[in-house]
Amino acid sequence: MDFPTDANVLVGLERADDAGVYRITDDVALIQTVDFFTPVVDDPYWFGQIAAANALSDVYAMGGVPRTAMNLVAFPSKTMDMSILRQIIQGGIDKMKEAEVALVGGHSIEDKEIKYGLSVTGIIHPDRVLTKKNLRPGDRLVLTKPLGTGIVNTAIKAGMASDQLSEMVTRLMAALNRDAARIMTGYDISACTDVTGFGFLGHLAEMVSGSGKGVRIEAQRAPVISEALELANMGLIPAGAYKNRDFRNDMIIVAETVPRGLVDIFFDPQTSGGLLIAVARHQADDFAAALVEAGMPRAAIVGDVIDTADEKIWVA
């Protein structure tokens, strides 16, 4: 398909990156993104927060700062109490306030199923845009949030998750990636993306594909929600995780020593997951420590970029 474009499009559709980037002047580029989905938790207020955090995340993943947002709402107003919609939007608004983003408009339609999300505009210096590409040999990979939200959400649906676990995961999904993005500006970062529907290894595969580099993941260092491992072993895995695995099968080589449940978690689709960041080797420890210090206690170095033309991911 031939997409309309012009010379100021720095990141467009052909890149399939987290957001589009458009140069306005030599110093300012716009970052634009839109995301919405059906409820992932029962509580409407928390759903609003999670949907907003998830939409804002694409701007953070480009290294930018979100500035304005618009609500996207689909709601069955004839059959459902409007107070539910108010709570969803209140959740979104509170998350926007936390992110210091102005709500400037929106659009709502009547629909059988609830959907909510945001269209977000952010800004960035055109020279500082972080895409999924440009991995450098020697870079270390850092992940900011623990994995396993899709599995835990499946267990919640099955009535097999405790209140404490469900509360913890709700907070995790509602947590902004803002502080991680802010900290990135002080370090030598080559590439970044946020971990969402394709899972950790699926999004990593997007970074590796076309990079001319390989990646080695140290499975035991990856942050995971500990309960997710038990739940994965009981078969409470969303179908998307299997799709993610089958889609990237050729690129990923998993050592036999890695437990099956952990591999399941690595392909688990995440809702509003953390940032996956490639940072210069000599800064990696400081960078990870700064993330932990800033309130991301599970942030960790998870692997290395290897100088090999074989675009493969080795998980050991």
Partner: protein
Amino acid sequence: MKEIDARGLACPAPVLQTKAALQEENIDHLRVVVDNAASQQNVQRFLESQGFEATLKQAGADYLVVGARTGQPLPQDEPKTAAVAEGDTKKIMVMCASDRMGFGDDVLGRKLMINFLKTLKEMGPDLWRLVFVNNGVKLTIEGSAALPDLKAYENDGLKILVCGTCLDHFGLLEQKRVGETTNMLDIVTAMQLADRVINI
């Protein structure tokens, strides 16, 4: 052989149906039919976690899992999380904004408070959060008569939240001996999630 037809069901329903069947009767051999590969692998994982050997087969559009019991479930099969999902416990949050109970005689008030905290355990599993703010934080510091009881609660898994701003205000940050130092956002969130909040 027990047959379970879970065709037409999306994850996690086939696993739940299999789980229910195993709970209902003692089964050593079973065959589960699903209509997609993801459900097939999930049922396989579940059966393996329950001490079965699972074999996968495909027949036309059907995906089969044939299970044969080889042993007892692995120890991890009863996650701590499962028992809590019964859903009949309430979440009660008790917030103590003072180190004494009621007004009038302060000596009596302090004694009552210690006794109150000791007796709280009668709430059983419904007791979900214990929060200390303002003067209440003094109950959590070195030398507090409530400390042994509070530590016992914490050991039993009760989450105790202690207001960091309040500790700081009284210069007691270093003396806190029990609970997690917390902020107002955590307290407000806990209030929102609780089924009942009791203020002392």
